[in-house]
Symmetry: C2
Subunit: 403 residues, 2 copies
């Protein structure tokens, strides 16, 4: 197969798969009565629970708006209306306490708070939903909500976290967990899209987040560790040795996107070498294929029960990372790695009959959980990956035609 | 093999295995410098983390004292001293806040609090440690600590839980989670051993806990559900349909112990039929053997990633439940089920080379995590099971000799 034929084959599969994935969510997840989305969906789309997880509500609103804005075939009333109803559900119910920005982690179908986490992530996905909804509808209220919430989480992260409700404990030194600067960098990108004023406002935060991510390169550049000290040093014990290959690769493409936007060649090289290639080479299961969920940098057995399971999202992040890396560098080895992940994911996770991917395979690659959605899996990683890959592949194909 | 030979074979295996398991902990887990125990131990006993989980500290103190008191071969200075040093570690460090009974969930090696859970379980294992230490050493301080902490958790459970720090949320109706009355019933047994005054004091709590456990029999007696409403009704969604076969069987032998002590034939029958046989028959994996960790009573796929993994402790609880059930009823089917669980556990979980059991097998029965101890696995379920089974088998053998 020629280079161009390979690109075409991949692009067609991505496009076809994206249709099937989005059909799954459009057909099964809309709550017409209360707004928002059902995400606890079985293999064939049946609703097995009606709780609403705020991360997933926010992510689905974002995904719907993004596709509505960017892809003509998804520019449909049905998608816009569901997104707006999801946004309104969030505005009405995400915050259990009317005088606080703090969002719930999960609410009942009709919006009553069930659980509140003492972290910033529900709020982060709330911001993504609101900002994207503003870009889609131009309703200022959504923009204001996004900006107000962003100010609050930046304060919690950089000034004073006591508002999150976590007690300070003498044995728990401050940790730079990679999720936090990754999330913030992603939000800066989101809020700054075609908005110079926002880009300026968040310039310092962008730099800070990038630096905090780069602190996770440890052991003389030979490994990315998920948690480091506030000063960027390795932490003792399991916490310090913990690795999350999929997360590192997601950070990789976040950094790569920065590098491309800023024509920062050094940052691009670090992103590909340290955050994409290193975690892939150590995190790929040589025996059964697929990316491990967690590893211990010294080779100890991780204590997380699912460490060797093959989850959907590390594979979607790897696909984006390799393709974006190839687009930036033209390094052919990245395309070979992309092929490997593509073959694994499309042969084992795709479900042509019902749509959407299986999220949880055993180490050996068998479906361990048949659910398509649940408390942590919604309409986000798979369609984001398919959309982004289709877009990059289209650009690469357009370049082929030019030459 | 004759009936007596079967009993002898099992008893000898239990006894030999108990020696090997206890040697593992005695050899590898004692922290001579700070007191307490290392529980993050690899397959061969190497320490891969030095955090101290309070549940496991309390359980190991309890186990050491209990064996010291009850089994002559473990009546050794080394075991007593380690237990006392563990108890003193708990007294000095389990409570991060000197003016509160609330215990930490995990502390650093030298005892600084890392994390506090908003539940009662750290405190429960603290009580078990203190009470057993009092029975072993006759030092009144330990008894007072146990009684004082018990009063507090009974207050949290039955009067006002706000001291645990969990906010009340409108979507989270009060739940009767089986773990709570099970734990309390176990503590009542612990505190009342050969102590009529305590037995009297806790009589009402014993009844209340038993009733709260029995409320988990649902669906016209066809299933035990892990969570029910405060009024003992089935709850909606995954939470309501959740089943934990190992936990139900542990509740089964807690109830059976009550029934035997009170010569309550009806309670004994319910314990065996509903809490031992039902969960075993639905929870045993017909394809690969072993007990599932979690199930959904309607057959939906559970959302817990480890639902199909074969963990150590459901199997230890099943072994105790079947043997105690047989002792109480002479029903031969219970002995056949015991054989099945025994064969599975001893062939797949035991590690003759290094001692202690593998805790985490895949659905297919392969070792998925090679660790022998970790944040949730310490010196408790395996030796408690081996000790109790050896004791019951010895009694059954003594009865053989009588007839």
């Amino acid at each position: 197969m020629s280079y161009k034929e390979r690109l075409q084959t991949w692009r067609d599969r991505m496009s076809e798969e994206l249709d099937r994935v989005m059909n799954f969510w459009i057909q099964h997840s809309h709550d017409e009565e209360y707004g928002g989305f059902f995400t606890c969906l079985s293999q064939n789309g049946d609703i097995y629970d009606d709780l609403k997880y705020i991360w997933l509500q926010g992510r689905q609103v974002w995904m719907y708006c993004h596709l509505y804005r960017k892809v003509s075939k998804f520019h449909k009333e049905e998608i816009l209306n569901a997104a707006i109803k999801g946004g309104e559900f969030l505005l009405a119910h995400a915050r259990p306490n009317t005088d606080s920005i703090k969002c719930a982690f999960v609410v009942t179908r009709d919006g009553q708070a069930v659980k509140v986490q003492r972290t910033i992530f529900s709020e982060c996905f709330f911001i993504m939903a609101m900002d994207e909804l503003w870009r889609t509808t131009k309703e200022d209220q959504y923009k204001e909500e996004a900006r107000k919430t962003m100010d609050q989480i930046v304060y919690w992260v950089r000034e004073d976290s006591s508002g999150l409700g976590r007690p300070e404990l003498p044995g728990a030194a401050p940790v730079n967990a990679m999720a936090v600067p990754m999330m913030l960098l992603n939000l800066v990108d989101q809020l700054s899209e075609e908005d110079e004023e926002a880009a300026k406002k968040y310039e310092d935060l962008r730099k800070w987040s990038t630096e905090r991510i780069l602190q996770h390169i440890q052991r003389d550049g030979s490994a990315v560790l998920e948690n480091v000290s506030d000063e960027g040093k390795e932490l003792p014990g399991c916490l310090g040795r913990h690795q999350n290959p999929g997360h590192a690769m997601e950070a990789g493409w976040f950094l790569l996107r920065q590098a491309i936007a800023q024509s920062n060649h050094d940052l691009g090289r670090i992103a590909v070498e340290k955050f994409v290639l290193l975690p892939f080479l150590s995190g790929w299961d040589q025996e059964y294929g697929g990316l491990f969920s967690f590893q211990d940098v010294d080779g100890h057995c991780p204590t997380q029960l699912e460490w060797s399971m093959k989850l959907w999202w590390p594979h979607t992040e790897a696909l984006i990372a390799f393709l974006l890396g190839y687009q930036a560098t033209n390094d052919p080895q990245l395309l070979e790695h992309f092929q490997k992940v593509f073959d694994y994911a499309f042969s084992r996770k795709s479900d042509p009959k019902h749509g959407e991917w299986f999220g949880y395979l055993s180490r050996e690659g068998k479906v361990a959980l048949s659910i398509k959605g649940g408390p942590f899996k919604g309409c986000f990683h798979v369609p984001r990956c398919l959309y982004m890959c289709e877009e990059i592949l289209s650009k690469l194909l357009a370049e082929c035609d030019k030459t």
